[in-house]
Every structure is written in structure tokens, then in C-alpha cells.
Symmetry: C2
Subunit: 572 residues, 2 copies
């Protein structure tokens, strides 16, 4: 739907005024169109283009250095008047004559043609080129009867470059005609556009269907099929265009994959991947492809592919610098290509030097992680069942996957001689990377925060472990955003860390302190059954979770208990 307008009859004119305000570095508003706001040399051929509105950036968006000199804008989907074309030409003319470019539609042919006659009557040399690239609209034998679609951009870009290079009008016209003769477009549509102020689309395509060859104002297409995959659509578009390759077209093509309005960039990039691959298989080299919105039809759903078979002269023009709202060539900041970085350097694992005590601590942690992974693998089903009562049931899987990856990384780090801190950090990162989802990332944050309280050069002691638990709590709440009472693992982690710290502070041995902390976590985890989650869950899940404990809190308590099995009995 087109929603935004005041008086619908003023839509085209108001849009043009807004465009001119934003892009004043390129254009100046004049009645019924725009002229370049940048100076052009006397004697340069003027490229004046235009057509109906509703096709932005066609046509005002193509005005700027290296491209068009002026654009005439009609009302939505309506040709500009003869007088509008004539007057804008009078403004744009620099003494070198004018090439008038527009899509091949009856109204435009009439008004641009008549304007050309008027201008000739005023002594200005004017040539007229109706772009006719749409293969769906007439047979190959009647190329000049075809309508103009996104091929406009290719033809105008090439003609604009020839004019900017100072070529005389005869040459600019010849090159533009050659570009048009070598340009083919083919398009598809999924849905129609809505005229400003209208309640219904101008036309429609049945749901789940794709119209082939539909015109950009809803002119009839040539076929209708179920919506294909991107790869199938690439084949439809490329194969039809290749079947119409001009004689002696060569192997180098300019390509434009054009979105009509509501078929978005990311879809176009997906399609482009398939189009590029199919063109490459056909042995064609694509030169400076353009993927985006170049000739739209308000909010129409669909896209088209345009190919222009290049010779050396056309390629030079296609690549020549230009600057406009929609298309530019050439850099605004000079920059060299970057050297490509060594992949091994990016992935390399460097563990800091560790003392013998630190390495011993690392081996200890690796042992604990291996045991934890065993316990969580065994608990996978149970944790999944608990999670399924209020969540999506994948918590057990994530915990098993994360802890297994953490155990493997800890083993690798310990064997490489890493200290306790580095071993736990490696385990943390592996857990986050492999577990997936929020709980994996949270475990990663928690263990990594914990690791920073340990050293690579010192033995693990109760004080450092307790400080680490508090650091883990702090990291998890800071990065995860959950607070106690939100029905997350924080509800178990918080009493665990506080109890551990309190017990260690009052001199309890590590194992006893950990036992107390683990009991506190287990008790708190069970109590989460009384809570309603605040974060990270959609509302229906919140309702469902009533009366069920939180799987994240339960698995944290379970892990705390698992670690207890591997702790020494004595102090420190």
C-alpha cells in the first residue's frame, strides 16, 4: 500500500520537491522536473530524460555529473506534457544539442516527440531515443515496439558518459542507440502497486503465483506460474535473456537486478547470487553489476533482470565516473585494496605462560569440566522435559552440547600447558560458541568472568573461587540483563555465589562452603516454580511456565552439585 500523502493529486509534485530538498548537491527543482545543480560546460550535449512519476529513482534520481542533465516528471504513471519537456530542455541546453531519453510508452513518445519538434523549430538540434528493452512486450523482430523498463538506467548511464566526455550529438545518439539495441530486460511480479489515495492495488497477482513479463504499470504479462525458488527464478530470467542475445554481442555484460518496490534488497541479493552463478556458467563476464531499486513501480512486488552486451566503447561508458542520487561510479575517498589477512592468525589460540601451580590448576579444571559434561549429558532428557513445560524444550540439548565443547576445549588448553584462568576461559568460549542460544551465551559470560578471578600462575583456592562466583554473577546480570526474580538461572546463581562467598569469608573449607552454596542454589531453583518470567520469553510461554521451575536455574544447581563431586575434602 501507498499510505503517505496529503492531496493525492499533488503526490508526484510534492515527492519531487522533497527529493530536490534532500539531493540539492545534484539537482535544482524547476517546474515539472529537475535540472543539474552543478555546472556543465558550454557546448556539452544535454541528456534530458523523463517519464511518469511513481518510478523513483527514475528519472530525477539519475540527474548529476556524468549522467543526465535534467529530468522531466509527469504525474504518477503519466507522461509529462509537451510543454514541460520543452521548457526543461530550454533550461538544460548548453549549445551542444539535446538527446531526449524516455521509456517507449505511447504518451511519452507523443509528448517528447512533439517537444523535440518544437525545439527544432527554435533552432535546437534534438534527437529522440525511446528505450525499448522489455523482451516480454513484443517479439525480438519488433525490438523498437518493446516498452522501456530498467534498461533505462543502462542506456542513460552510457549515453550520459558519452555526453560528459564531450562527444558530439551524432556520436552520443549513435552510442545511446547501440546501447538500447544491446539491452534486454525481463521481469516478474508477485503483487501490484497502490496508487496514492486508492484503496485497492492497481492490479493484483493471485496469491502464491508469479506473473511473468508483467509491465510496470500492470500491463498484461505473458505467463503465470507458482512462485519459484530463487535459483529457479534466476534460471527463468537469465535463460530468457540469453536466448535473445544480440548478434556479435560478445561475452561481457552490464547487469542490473532491479527491485520494483516491495521486493527487498536482501531478496535481491539472494537472487543475485543465483543469477551471477548462472551467468558465469554461461561464460559471461559481468561488469559492475547493479542490484537495487532503479526503476520502481510505487510499492509493486517483483523484480527484473537487465543485461547490456558490451563492446569496448559501451564498457568504457558504463564504467565512467558519475554522481547522482542513485548511481555513482568512482570513489569519494581514494583507497587501495586491502591486503588479505592470514586466516591462521585470526583463529590462532595463544595461551599466556603459566606457572607449574597454574598448570596444575588448569588440569584440575579440565577434569571438573569433563565430569560436568558427563553429568549434563546424562541429564539432557530431564532438562529438556523441564524446559518443555514452559519453553521450547531445547535447554537440555544446549547444556549437553555446550558442556561437551567446554570440556574438549579445557582438555586441549590444559594439554597445551595453559594455566587455570586460561583453561576456564577457553572452556567458557567454547561453551558459548557451541551451545547456541541465550543460555549458551550466558554460561559463556559466567565462566569467562569466573576465569578472571583465577590466575595462570597461582593455585586455585577457596577465596579466588568465591570471588569468581561473584564475578560470574555480576557478568551474567550485566550482560544478560536478568535480575533475581526474573525466573532465569540468576535465581539460582545469586544464592549460590552469595552463600559461597559468605561461607568462605567465615572460614569454611572449600568443600563445605561449596556444599552450602550448592544447596542454596538447588532450593532457589525449585522455588522458581512460583515465579513468572519477565525477560526473554513471549507472553504465552510466561503463562505456561506457572507452577514449573526454570530449567536454567535447575541446570545451574545441577552443575554446582556435579562440581562438588570433584572438589577436595580439605581446605583450599
Amino acid at each position: 500500500m501507498t499510505h503517505l500523502h496529503d492531496d493525492p493529486t499533488a503526490f508526484a509534485a510534492t515527492a519531487l520537491a522533497g527529493y530536490c530538498d534532500v539531493f540539492r548537491q545534484f539537482v535544482r527543482a524547476v517546474p515539472d522536473g529537475v535540472v543539474r545543480s552543478t555546472a556543465t560546460p558550454d557546448g556539452k550535449v544535454a541528456l534530458v530524460i523523463g517519464g511518469g512519476s511513481g518510478h523513483y529513482p527514475a528519472f530525477a534520481g539519475y540527474v548529476g555529473p556524468g549522467l543526465a542533465d535534467a529530468a522531466v516528471a509527469g504525474d504518477v504513471f503519466a507522461s509529462p506534457s509537451t510543454r514541460a519537456v520543452r521548457d526543461i530542455c530550454a533550461r538544460a541546453h548548453r549549445g551542444g544539442g539535446i538527446l531526449l531519453g524516455f521509456g517507449n510508452y505511447a504518451g511519452d513518445v507523443l509528448n517528447f516527440g512533439l517537444a523535440a519538434e518544437r525545439l527544432r523549430g527554435e533552432g535546437i538540434d534534438v534527437r529522440v531515443l525511446a528505450v525499448s528493452d522489455d523482451v516480454a512486450s513484443a517479439s525480438a523482430e519488433e525490438h523498437e515496439r518493446r516498452r522501456g523498463v530498467a534498461g533505462d538506467l543502462a542506456v542513460f548511464k552510457i549515453a550520459g558518459a558519452a555526453a560528459e566526455a564531450g562527444r558530439p550529438l551524432d556520436e552520443v545518439e549513435r552510442i545511446a542507440r547501440l546501447a538500447n539495441a544491446r539491452t534486454r530486460s525481463f521481469g516478474v511480479a508477485f503483487g501490484g502497486c497502490t496508487l496514492p489515495g486508492a484503496k485497492q492495488p492497481l492490479f493484483s497477482v493471485p496469491e502464491g503465483r508469479m506473473a511473468i513479463g508483467l509491465g510496470i504499470h500492470g500491463e498484461p504479462g505473458i505467463d503465470e506460474v507458482p512462485i519459484p525458488s530463487a535459483a529457479e527464478l534466476a534460471a527463468i530470467l537469465v535463460d530468457r535473456l540469453l536466448s535473445e542475445a544480440p548478434a556479435h554481442g560478445g561475452k561481457r555484460v552490464a547487469a542490473i537486478l532491479n527491485g520494483l518496490g516491495s521486493t527487498k534488497y536482501e531478496e535481491l541479493f539472494v537472487l543475485w547470487s543465483a543469477v551471477a552463478s548462472r551467468l558465469a556458467k554461461a561464460g559471461l563476464a559481468v561488469v559492475a553489476p547493479e542490484v537495487g531499486e532503479f526503476v520502481t513501480s510505487l510499492d509493486m512486488e517483483g523484480c527484473s533482470l537487465t543485461l547490456t552486451w558490451l563492446d569496448d566503447e559501451l564498457e568504457t561508458c558504463w564504467l565512467a565516473p558519475c554522481d547522482s542520487a542513485v548511481l555513482r561510479r568512482g570513489a569519494t575517498i581514494a583507497a587501495e585494496p586491502a591486503a588479505i589477512r592470514d586466516e591462521a592468525e585470526v583463529a590462532a589460540k595463544h595461551y599466556p605462560e603459566a606457572s607449574a601451580e597454574g598448570r596444575a590448576g588448569g588440569r584440575c579444571i579440565a577434569g571438573v569440566m569433563a565430569h560436568l559434561a558427563d553429568i549434563l549429558r546424562d541429564a539432557e532428557q530431564e532438562l529438556g522435559r523441564i524446559d518443555a513445560q514452559a519453553g521450547d524444550g531445547d535447554h537440555g540439548q544446549g547444556m549437553a552440547r555446550g558442556s561437551a565443547a567446554a570440556a574438549a576445549a579445557a582438555k586441549e588448553a590444559a594439554e597445551a600447558g595453559a594455566g587455570a584462568s586460561s583453561v576456564l576461559a577457553a572452556a567458557a568460549d567454547a561453551w558459548a560458541d557451541r551451545a547456541g542460544g541465550t543460555s549458551g551465551a550466558i554460561w559463556g559470560v559466567g565462566l569467562r568472568s569466573w576465569s578472571q578471578s583465577l590466575g595462570d600462575d597461582a593455585p586455585i583456592d577457596a577465596g579466588r573461587l568465591a570471588a569468581g562466583a561473584l564475578a560470574a554473577l555480576s557478568g551474567v546480570t550485566r550482560l544478560g540483563g536478568a535480575k533475581p526474580g526474573d525466573k532465569t538461572l540468576v535465581d539460582a546463581l545469586e544464592p549460590f555465589a552469595r552463600t559461597l562467598e559468605a561461607e568462605v569469608s567465615k572460614g569454611s573449607a572449600l568443600r563445605a562452603a561449596w556444599q552450602a552454596a550448592s544447596d542454596a542454589a538447588t532450593g532457589a531453583a525449585k522455588q522458581t516454580a512460583d515465579l513468572v518470567p519477565r525477560l526473554g520469553r513471549a507472553r504465552p510461554l510466561a503463562e505456561r511456565s506457572k507452577g514449573h521451575p526454570d530449567a536454567g536455574a535447575i541446570s545451574l544447581a545441577m552443575a554446582a552439585r556435579a562440581v562438588l563431586d570433584r572438589l577436595p575434602d580439605g581446605p583450599g
Copy 2:
């Protein structure tokens, strides 16, 4: 709808690959994101940005000289993983430290935050900035809890400029935080987006309604109202943002009017006209506004307005050169502003010098045109009635308006001393300009072609008039595309011109010849009742036109008869 994909789970990755292929002058594909393909100096602060996919050009489209150094891409609407962020940072780091920028969403805060901790563990200085510009998502007192929307672009552009200028990390971070603190966005939505592979939109807005403050992933808005006019919407957006202007914000603002996907450029330009005017009334000066698609949400319908209150430092950064797929500053072709052309020169009417005989002919034609205008004004109702049987009923109006304008222009030209050819040409142009529609343009072509057979220095004679009629026929068929039998005015013009030429050739006096031609036109016009139109009419009208004559042919015959009243009896 999002229609184009192969495997929907590969949508984000394939889209990114396609983007990298097209924009290789800016980016190089790496796992889960992109890095600049252009060289950056050692020691430069790296700006690494990212977030979920589905928001193109956010975030990969912001990578290039003067803007971001790299972008990390998650799956559609999902945060990238910690590892993806960490690895891309390792690639982008140039020894100057890293600023990590992303929108303020829980998953991104978690993963970017965790990656920052890992990187710090590797000895890299990393700062983290969660953009929080959306005023609808939390109160002004909790600015840092707001989510990030199109303000991303403003904050990243400013931070990127500071980094490119070689500022140290502390400074880049300070400037980026200042930009975020001074950036506010407010958005509205008309309809939801469709995830690749889904059959239904992710969320929806009731038809005819507009959601205010809806998030770009469908997060709840704060209000819902009937869809307003563009001017009303401008007031909603501007007034809310101005009510949240930062303290000491000043009077200069960067502005971004952002389309979310299916709200198209021309609508945005219409809205921008109203926004710009409202900002001006509030005394704000807008610096380099951007209107387009910068942070989308697949094919979501809606838009947002972002303002960043600038100080001198922020303005310098906002305006600094940059080059990327979506945003650039600076020209690729150096160009001076153009001198503005004298309006009088554009509009000036120059009539060629005419002889006394030519001027007499001009006065004669002015008289004929005045009479023709009288006749067609009287026939307006009847012609309208005939046209309404098969067309839209405005033919009589167009003919009356066109002929009146032609008569006035002919009078003006004759009084200015123009010759016959120039008087008729002036009448032709005025007819086309004022009548409107195809029939007006066709009459313009016909009369202008006719005028070229007359001279400004010779008397009007039967031979020139007959040649002119043939020229008119030729001009009309060439520019209008209709042939005899298409049920247009050509069906009457063709027998008129041929009969006139035949009669004059065999020596008939002008009046007699014109009488015969006029009779032929009238007979042919009546016979158009038997024809079905081929051109310029939609199919339902074609059906309705059966049995009714063509209004264009009838009015041509009527005009021919009217001229007869003013022709002299004798020869020549």
C-alpha cells in the same frame, strides 16, 4: 511478502554473499560478516558494527572508507554469535583498539559484550556502545534502556568519521557516546514484515490503522491511530522528538527519514517535505538530511524519523567524507554549482521575422482559430455526451479548453506580428499544453506539423494547406501510433487530408476542396461506430464503445466544418 529465497535458513548468509559480490569495491566476505576491502592505516581505531540480518543496509551496507571497518551479521533478526563478533574483530583490528557498535537488544548486548571480554583477554582494547535512540521503547530517564533503530546510522557515521580522522580510541568512544546521547528516533508502522519461508507476516497492523512506536521486529508500540495525512504524520514525528530535545542541544540537527521496507521513496519524499517545513518552523537548521532506506525490517511498512542534535564536533563528523554501499559524502566528480538560468529566457517567445503577406496569413489563422474555439465551446456538451458512451466523457471539455488556449495564443502571436506558420505553431503548442490528455497532445502534433507547410513570408494557398493536412496526418500517426481503423481521430483525419490533397491537385478551389474533405471526414467519423478501438483504452471501454462513434473523429469533422465557415469562396 518476502518471496525470494532457496533454503529459508540460508537466506541471511546467501543475501550477504550476493551483497559482497555486488559491492566488492567496499567489502570482502568473511565468515558471518564483512570486512573492508580497502586498505586502512595501521593504528586506526576499528569501528566494528553488527546485529541481526533482515535490516539491510544495516549493517554490512555501512562498511567502507570513512564509515565502519567491518560488520558482523547474525541470522534474520538474531544476534550474531560471540565467536563471530570476536573473529571479525580479530580481522578488523589494526592496533588502535576497537569500538563495537550495535543496537541495544538483549542478544546483541550479550554477544558483543562477551566478545569484548574475550578480546580484552587477548590484549585488545575494546569499547562497547549499544545505540539507544528509540524514544518509544523506554522513558527519557532511561535513555540507555531504549532500543536502537535508525539512529544506528547517525551514531556509526559520526564514530566512523572520528576513527577515520585518526582520533584515539578514548576520543572515538567519547564522540560516539555523545552522538548516541544526542540522537532520538520515533517510528510508525502500517504493516508487518514476512520472514523468509513464512506464509504470514510476523505481525500485523489493522487495515487503515497506524501503530505508533512499534519496534522493527514487531515489538509492541505505544499507541494506534487511523492512518494520518503526511502533514499530520510529520507533526506526530517531529513534535515527539522535539519534546525530547537534549539539554543544550542547540539549533542544528542531522536528520534521517528512514523507510522500513515497503514504504517507498516517493512517499518518504512527500513526508520529508512536511517534516522539513515543520523543523524549519521550530527554528531548527537541518544539516545534510538523509531520506531513504537505512535500517529496514525486511518488507515492513512504516518509517521513522531520527534527529541528532549537533555541536561543531558532531557536525564535522556527520559531514566528513565517506564511501559505502548506502551512504556517501563527498563528490566522485568535482563540480561547481551551476549558475541559475534567467527564467524569462526560458519562457520567452521569439517569433521569426514575417513579411506583410505572412502577417496577413497569421491574422487570418487567428480569426479561424477564434471561430473554431467558439464552435467547440458550443459543442462541449455534445462531444462530452458522445465520449461518455465509450470513454470518460472529458473529450468535449478538452477540446473546448485546447481550442480556447489556441485561439488566445494565435491572437497574441498575430498581434505581435508573427507570420502564418508561427501563429499556427503557437496555437498548436497552446492547444497541447492546455487541453491535457492524449487528444490535446495529438491536436498539438497535428497543428504544429501543419504549420510547417505554411510560411511566415508567403500567402496561405490551397497547395500549402493541402500539404499541411498531409503533414498533420503524418505527424499524428507517427507520434500518436494510431492507424486508420483504430477508432481514433485518425479515422476522420486520414480521409480529410487525402480528399483535400486530391481535390486541390485536380484544381478545385480551396473552399470546394475543403468542403469535399470535410464531408469525407464527417462520413468517416460516423462510420467509427462500427469499429472497436485498438489503442489507448482499457478492455471494458472497448466493449462499451461498440455501436458508438469515436468522439475524437467526430470533433475533428466538426472542426473541419467550422473552418469552412471562414474560408474565402474564391481560389487560393
